[in-house]
């Protein structure tokens, strides 16, 4: 007659039995389905964030030389500039985009980056505005206007400004 198992052997036998019965158990297929959906959502979020970072980065590059000027632009200047936002008719549109001058940010870079549909318009900016921005202006020409390209939001809010070749 075989002796009884020791307690350790007994427990090992029972645990091995449980292990054998559980070895084929896997998570239900609904879990993987849910994960693939979560992955797709996460990818959309990641891609959108990457697009914003890229746009933000490009805008920051545009503004890099002009940031110091942007820092001195006060809200009152912005309000004055917004009054002079009449798109100039008849100017050649191919000047837009070929201008290498840096943009001067009129809003925060984050706000500019978040703008979904910015557009670039040609406009004319009174020279006296440059004085408000800390730039020197000759009194003889203070009343003149300068050609500029204005980045505006979909609602017409000025976002940034750069001067066109005169």
């Amino acid at each position: 007659m075989k002796p009884n198992l020791s307690d350790d052997q007994f427990l090992k036998r029972e645990l091995d039995h449980l292990n054998a019965k559980m070895i084929s158990i896997t998570a239900p297929p609904t879990v993987e389905t849910a994960l693939l959906k979560a992955f797709a959502c996460q990818q959309k979020i990641t891609n959108a964030a990457q697009h914003k970072r890229t746009t933000f980065g490009k805008i920051a590059e545009w503004f890099a030389p002009g940031v110091a000027i942007a820092a001195s632009v006060s809200m009152s200047v912005w309000m004055l500039l917004s009054l002079s936002l009449d798109p100039v008719q008849g100017l050649p549109t191919d000047s837009i985009g070929n201008n290498d001058a840096p943009f001067i940010a009129l809003q925060s870079l984050e706000q500019i980056a978040l703008e979904p549909n910015p557009r670039l318009i040609e406009t004319q900016v009174p020279k006296m505005m440059l004085a408000s921005m800390g730039l020197s202006v000759s009194p003889e020409t203070a009343n003149e206007s300068l050609r500029a390209e204005m980045l505006v939001s979909a609602t017409g809010q000025p976002l940034a400004l750069r001067f066109s070749p005169q």
Partner: protein
């Protein structure tokens, strides 16, 4: 020159890196590698297949969202994920107040005033296995206090080392040994009260026919 296959740990790291890079195939590969042991651990630990499925899903969603601070220098991804599973279940239990915090939480429960918990809200456990003997053991496991059950499951059912279990449960190796010893003793006692004895099982019918 033949390329050496990646070790398990390095393969997990590579898959994790690819997942973070947006590779969907890496996700399915990681899932295939780890879901079953995690799911089985969560079933044994929680007693519920729905909780186990939720835990596995939550773990992998967190991986997808890169919410974990996994340090490969501290151990394998598999051990790390067991630790996460354990913590997720603990949080659920705390939220449901299934177990009251008592004396043994202050130490490792190895004193004379240790209480044994029975989760009356879960029992009777859902029937998961067709085999009654296996189910009896599973029920007996569910009766053991959680901090003992963790160690027992991870050691006996998941083949983890003392060091891995110590990291997962945030205890020292000596405590792992003592909890394992007490958990085994308790489990043996519970099984015997259920009528499962340590009499050696008779040989199966097929082996008897072979002996003739």
């Amino acid at each position: 020159m033949t390329e050496m296959p990646l070790s398990d740990a390095n393969l997990d790291l590579e898959l994790l890196k690819q997942l973070r890079g947006g590779n969907r195939t890496a996700l399915t590969a990681l899932y295939a590698r780890h879901q079953a042991p995690l799911y089985r651990f969560a079933i044994l630990r929680s007693g519920s297949t729905s909780i186990a499925a939720d835990v596995v899903q939550d773990i992998f969603v967190a991986l997808i969202e890169n919410r974990f601070n996994f340090d490969p220098m501290r151990g394998a991804l598999s051990s790390f994920l067991f630790g996460v599973a354990r913590n997720f279940i603990l949080k659920r239990e705390e939220a449901e107040r299934r177990f009251l915090p008592i004396d043994f939480l202050q130490g490792d429960g190895d004193d004379a005033h240790e209480m044994e918990f029975v989760d009356t809200r879960v029992l009777p456990l859902e029937k998961i296995l067709a085999d009654d003997r296996a189910e009896t053991l599973r029920h007996a496991l569910a009766k053991i206090a959680p901090h003992y059950r963790d160690v027992l499951i991870l050691y006996e059912m998941q083949d983890l080392t003392y060091v891995e279990i110590a990291n997962i449960c945030d205890i020292d190796i000596g405590t792992v040994r003592s909890r394992l010893s007490r958990a085994r003793a308790k489990l043996i006692s519970l099984l015997k009260t259920k009528g499962i004895t340590n009499v050696e099982q008779p040989p199966s019918q097929s082996s008897r026919e072979k002996n003739l």
